[in-house]
Symmetry: C2
Subunit: 327 residues, 2 copies
């Protein structure tokens, strides 16, 4: 089979691509070709026997969507996005990439569908940012979308397009509302959500981390390993049961910051947790107060999507996948 | 004040424009100018003392949105749309008018906002077509949007844009999800929903009407008079209380076809109801089975939006407004 991944140079994109290279395609199918696209040229996965085309491209530029699907990939994983903070700071850029480029991709597929019956599986990375406060303590599968950012708005619009293009038979789409991915490997970043990963990642390697919110802050998490699993699973299951409701809140682990710290202590001891410095930041506290705390993701669970059941598992997944199993 | 109405030649557009000409603007403000746009030149309302600019225009064509707001209307009522059946039959046309032209209008306002601080009240005509079965018997204000038509998808996307542009301060928007408007005056049309009006309108003037569904079919209605009232009210209330949740299901009257016929009989007697011919049409029955039956529109009600409390009132409104009060 042939797989296209947009946003392939990002953290999830690289992990997913490496996973495809190592374990083959969804359902164990052999992968003949990988087309990897990002704003900077994505790395080709090591040890992949098939053909890799890795290209830097502006996915919103005219003709790029058509070029991306020219080889008629059987599976399209659409990860490329301008992240929340940047989409809020640059209104035009956010709409251009998160809405216009997504629609251009779907339109290119529709044109190919009309030309030769092409109808790929499209797995779209949505986000729990489609939800905005106030909401119930646990958000159910039928709760309405009231994004409080332009990023969340763009993801919600793309979800609606994905459903309509699927209903019309132009593509076979599924949208995954990802939890906050934790523990993100790599350097600390300036995202308001960065501390959720930082307070685990830094202490595990003996470095200090700043906690800008109280320990009672509750949020919805899944590991990068689970995220890769979501995309693999979404690529291989039968979507008939979804009907026209093509977008699903992914399972996750609801944990308070206090739960996170307790899990870190169980895995790495008090020497690790002692490296967390409490420096309350009212601006971050205010932003985080509008974020979802917990979900009842039973629709995705009933379709076989799985995430960590506890934050301990999330910490251990990071230790295994990023630190060679050593604390 | 200056008011822009798109879709001004349509049934609601004409009634609203005539109402503005007769009673002045929202909150009793004097109207100096009306800009009326539609695909065919809208009629200028009789007896209006101010300036009327009535123009035929393709609202999705480049430059048209900018031209429409060049006079900086204080109030923009955006009614123009490709209706449900046509948007389903012509995918490109539906997206072009219902999504692209709406976004072009909002973008033109954003550019004007950046240039000179322009920030009009925008009242957008959405639809209960943003909802698709399965749903609860009564749909609440926090139920999710799962449109089952491209029209409903386009309206749902426009709702999200309206909320985001309002949240960012580019405009002060409110979206009204209109019930099925009943009794529509004029000739029968081919809309699947046409019979809801036809079985009242035709018998009231001594003509036969066809009923293609069973009497137990329940649906959500409001009169054209109520629709005009919704738009007037939306134009004048303070929207601060809406926060970022700018789209509201309008109140209506939930009635079965049997309730409709009983109301007709109370208003016009058995001679009228005897003109209804039952000719079940499985295609129409199937379409109508996916439509909402009832809503709990308490959010709009708490903001002062009002519709008819019974279908008798809806029939009487038609008799008063279209038949000079005579049955």
């Amino acid at each position: 089979m042939h797989i296209l991944v947009t946003g392939a140079a990002g953290m999830i994109g690289r992990k997913l691509t490496e996973n495809f290279a190592k374990f083959g395609g969804p359902g164990g199918r052999a992968i003949e070709a990988l087309t990897l696209i990002d704003v900077a040229e994505p790395p080709a996965p090591a040890g992949f026997a098939g053909e890799t085309v890795a290209r830097a491209a502006d996915i919103a530029a005219p003709g790029v969507a058509e070029a991306m699907i020219a080889g008629r990939p059987d599976l399209v994983v659409h990860l490329a996005a301008i992240v929340s903070g940047e989409a809020e700071a640059d209104f035009d850029k956010g709409y251009r990439i998160n809405l216009d480029a997504t629609r251009a991709l779907f339109e290119a597929i529709r044109a190919a569908n009309a030309a030769d019956g092409y109808r790929p599986r499209v797995v779209f990375a949505s986000s729990i940012a489609v939800f905005g406060a106030p909401f119930p303590e646990k958000i159910g599968d039928e709760f309405f979308l009231t994004p409080l950012t332009s990023y969340g708005t763009q993801k919600a619009i793309a979800e609606l397009l994905l459903s309509d293009y699927s209903r019309r038979g132009f593509l076979d789409g599924i949208g995954l509302r990802l939890p906050t991915i934790c523990v993100r490997p790599g350097k600390p970043n300036k995202a308001a959500s960065g501390f959720f990963s930082g307070i685990i990642r830094e202490p595990l390697v003996g470095e200090a981390a700043v906690l800008p919110v109280g320990e009672d802050v509750r949020h919805w998490h899944a590991s990068p390993r689970s995220a890769v699993g979501f995309f693999r699973h979404a690529a291989e299951i039968d979507l008939t049961a979804l009907g026209a409701r093509r977008n699903l809140t992914m399972p996750g682990c609801s944990a308070t910051v206090g739960d996170q710290i307790a899990a870190l202590e169980r895995v790495a001891g008090k020497r690790a947790t002692a490296l967390i410095r409490r420096e309350p930041d009212p601006a971050i506290e205010r932003i985080v107060a509008g974020w979802p705390r917990d979900f009842d993701a039973r629709r995705a669970e009933s379709l076989g999507f799985r995430a960590e059941a506890s934050f301990d598992e999330i910490v251990r997944a990071h230790v295994e996948d990023e630190l060679g199993g050593k604390v």
